[in-house]
C-alpha cells in the first residue's frame, strides 16, 4: 500500500512545513518518531457546552412550572390531600383497576384467538376473524358501551336451548353496568390488540416454526413453546400502550354510572364545586397507576430480552469500536 501522507511529507522539502510535520531531512526514523509522538498525545474529552446550557435552561423552566402549580391556590392542595385517600375515591380506584384488569384479560384471550384465526389456513376462520376486527373497530366505544348496557332492551331473555329444556335468564339480571363495561372494553380492545398479536406472530422468523416442525413438534406445541413466547417479546411495548390507553378509557363508564375513579370524584365535585382539586386527585392516581404499569413494562421487557445476547454484544462492540 502506498503511503501518500508520507510521500507528501518527505518530498515537500522546499515549501514551508507545518508545525506538525518534521523536516524531511530526518528521513524515515524522524517520521516514525513524529507519528509516535502524535499517537502518544492524550485525546481531549469533548465538552458538550450546548447540552449543558440546554439542561440548565430546561431545568430552570421546569422548576418554575412545577412551582407555579404547587404554590397556586387554585389547586387547593389541602383539599386534594383530604380527598386523596377518602373512601369514595379508593372505591373508584379499585373499580378502575379491576375494570381495566378484567377487560384487558378478556382482550388478551380473545385477541390471541382472533390473531390465530386470521393467520389460519382455514378461510372460514380467517373471514370470521376479519369480520370481528372490522365490527369492533368501526363501532365507537361509547356506543358499544351503551349498547351492552341496554342489551336487555334488545334481547330481553338469554337462553341456552337444549333438547328437553335448557336454561333461560332475564338479560337484565346477567348484564349489570359493571359487566357490560367489561364486555364493551374487552371485546373492542381485543380487536385492536389482535392486530398487534398478529403482526408479532408474523415477525417471528419462519425458520423457528420450520425447525420445530422438523423436530416433530405438533402444531399446538409449536405455537405455545416456540412461536408465541418470541412473539410476546415483540408485542410487549405496543400492548403496554394499549393497556395504558384502556386504563384511562375506562373513565367512559361514567356514562353508565359505574363509580370508577373519575366518576367518583365527579360525584364529589358536583356536590362541593371543588372541581380542580378533585380532578387533581383523579389525575394523580392515574399518573401513579401508569407509572406502575410503565415500570412493570420495563421489567417485563428486560426479562423477555434476556436471550438477546447477540444484540447486546453487537452494541457493545460498536461502542468499543467508536471510542
Amino acid at each position: 500500500m502506498a503511503d501518500p501522507g508520507r510521500d507528501a511529507a518527505t518530498s515537500d522539502t522546499s515549501g514551508p512545513t507545518t508545525s506538525a510535520a518534521p523536516a524531511a531531512s530526518g528521513g524515515a526514523d524522524a517520521w516514525d518518531r513524529h507519528l509516535a509522538e502524535l499517537a502518544a498525545i492524550p485525546h481531549a474529552r469533548r465538552l458538550h457546552l450546548l447540552r449543558a446550557l440546554l439542561a440548565v435552561v430546561l431545568l430552570a423552566a421546569g422548576t418554575r412550572l412545577v412551582w407555579s402549580v404547587v404554590e397556586n391556590p387554585a389547586f387547593e392542595w389541602s383539599t386534594v390531600r383530604s380527598y386523596f385517600f377518602s373512601d369514595p375515591v379508593l372505591t373508584g380506584l379499585e373499580n378502575t383497576i379491576t375494570l381495566t384488569a378484567l377487560s384487558m384479560g378478556l382482550a388478551l384471550v380473545v385477541s390471541v384467538l382472533i390473531a390465530n384465526m386470521r393467520l389460519s389456513d382455514n378461510p372460514v376462520l380467517r373471514a370470521t376473524a376479519g369480520v370481528y376486527v372490522w365490527f369492533f373497530r368501526s363501532v365507537p366505544l361509547l356506543v358499544l358501551l351503551i349498547l351492552w348496557f341496554n342489551i336487555s332492551l334488545i334481547y330481553p331473555t338469554f337462553s341456552i336451548p337444549l333438547p328437553g329444556g335448557g336454561w333461560s335468564w332475564e338479560t337484565k339480571d346477567l348484564m349489570t353496568a359493571y359487566w357490560s363495561a367489561v364486555l364493551a372494553f374487552g371485546l373492542q380492545q381485543a380487536a385492536y390488540t389482535s392486530e398487534i398479536i398478529r403482526a408479532s406472530l408474523l415477525a417471528v422468523p419462519s425458520g423457528q416454526r420450520e425447525a420445530a416442525l422438523a423436530l416433530g413438534m405438533p402444531p399446538g406445541q409449536i405455537f405455545r413453546r416456540i412461536v408465541f413466547p418470541q412473539a410476546m417479546k415483540i408485542a410487549v411495548p405496543p400492548v403496554s400502550n394499549d393497556l395504558i390507553n384502556l386504563l384511562k378509557a375506562t373513565a367512559l363508564v361514567a356514562f353508565i354510572s359505574v363509580p370508577d375513579l373519575l366518576y367518583s370524584v365527579q360525584q364529589i365535585y358536583n356536590r362541593t364545586f371543588e372541581v380542580v382539586p378533585l380532578l387533581m386527585v383523579a389525575t394523580l392516581w392515574y399518573m401513579i397507576l401508569v407509572s406502575i404499569l410503565s415500570l412493570g413494562q420495563f421489567y417485563l421487557e428486560r426479562w423477555l430480552g434476556r436471550s438477546a445476547g447477540a444484540r447486546v454484544s453487537l452494541r457493545a462492540r460498536a461502542a468499543r469500536s467508536t471510542t
Binding site: E210, P218, Q230, S307, A310
Partner: protein, 269 residues
C-alpha cells in the same frame, strides 16, 4: 408405526438391505412453476448421499419434501416402512392429520442453512426441548444425552449460552446436536455451511464427517463438492428439477458423464 391400512399392505419380509428411505415420483410446483419433475431416490441404511446442483435446481425443495416441510403434489416418500404424510384408504392416498405427521417427522432430523436455533432458549434447552416435550423422555435423561451430544460437537461449555451469543459455526453444531437428540433414522442437511464465515466451515464439516463415518444415514445438499467427494458415498446431480446424473462420489473427480454436471463441477471446484 405404520401409516398404511386398507388394501395396500406392506410385504412383511422386507430385506435388510432394502433402502431406508425411498422417494418415488416427487413433483412440486410453486405458483405454476414446476420445480420438481418426477424425482425418485433411494438411500440405503448408513449411506451418505449428496445432492448437487445450481441454485434453483430444486435440491433444497426435494430435501424439504422428504420430511414434509413442503408438500409434494405427486409422489410418495417411504421411510423404513412408513408412508410419510399419507395413508391409503379405499384406493386413494389421503393426507395424514398434522399430529400424526409430526410423529413421523421425529424419525428425520434436519439441519438448516440458517441454523434456526430457538432464539429464546439456551443451548441446552434447544437440545432437550423435543426429547422432553415431544418424545416424552425424562428431563434428567434428556439432559445427560444432550450434554453428551454437545461434547461430541465440542460445545459442552456452552450449555447455558443463548444462540445469539454464539458464532455461526457454533450455532450450526448446536443445531446438529439438537437434531441428533431425537435419535433420527436419517439426517437431512440443507446447505449446512452456506451461511457460515469461511473460517467456520471446517468445524461444521468435521462434525458431519464424524457422523457419516459413525454410520449415520445422511442426505446432504451442499456446494462443498470437495467435501462431498471425500465424505459421501454417492452424488445426485439435479438440474431444473430433474435428476440428470447420479453415481459414486468418487466420480466427482473427473469422471462425471453428463455435460451439465461437468460444467457445474468446473465452476465450483
Amino acid at each position: 408405526m405404520t401409516a398404511v391400512d386398507g388394501p395396500a399392505t406392506l410385504p412383511t419380509d422386507r430385506r435388510a438391505d432394502e433402502p431406508l428411505i425411498s422417494a418415488r415420483g416427487i413433483s412440486k410446483s410453486f405458483g405454476g412453476h414446476q420445480v420438481l419433475h418426477d424425482v425418485s431416490l433411494d438411500v440405503r441404511r448408513g449411506e451418505a448421499v449428496c445432492l448437487l446442483g445450481r441454485s434453483g435446481s430444486g435440491k433444497s425443495t426435494f430435501l424439504r419434501c422428504l420430511n414434509l416441510l413442503e408438500r409434494a403434489e405427486r409422489g410418495i416418500v417411504m421411510l423404513d416402512g412408513d408412508l410419510l404424510g399419507h395413508h391409503v384408504r379405499r384406493g386413494r392416498v389421503h393426507r395424514l392429520p398434522a399430529r400424526r405427521e409430526a410423529v413421523q417427522r421425529q424419525q428425520l432430523g434436519m439441519v438448516f442453512q440458517q441454523f434456526n436455533l430457538f432464539a429464546h432458549k439456551t443451548v441446552l434447552e434447544n437440545v432437550i426441548e423435543a426429547p422432553v416435550k415431544v418424545a416424552g423422555r425424562s428431563r434428567r435423561e434428556a439432559r445427560a444425552d444432550a450434554v453428551g451430544l454437545l461434547e461430541r460437537v465440542g460445545l459442552a461449555e456452552k450449555v447455558g449460552a443463548y444462540p445469539g451469543q454464539l458464532s455461526g459455526g457454533q450455532q450450526q453444531r448446536v443445531a446438529i446436536a439438537r437434531a441428533l437428540a431425537m435419535k433420527p433414522k436419517v439426517l437431512l442437511f440443507d446447505e449446512p455451511t452456506s451461511a457460515l464465515d469461511p473460517e467456520m466451515v471446517n468445524e461444521v464439516l468435521q462434525v458431519i464427517r464424524d457422523l457419516v463415518v459413525g454410520g449415520m444415514t445422511t442426505i446432504i445438499v451442499t456446494h462443498e463438492v470437495g467435501f462431498a467427494r471425500e465424505v459421501c458415498d454417492r452424488f445426485v446431480f439435479l438440474q431444473d428439477g430433474r435428476i440428470v446424473e447420479e453415481g459414486p462420489a468418487s466420480r466427482l473427480n473427473e469422471g462425471a458423464e453428463h455435460a451439465a454436471t461437468r460444467d457445474f463441477l468446473s465452476k465450483v471446484l
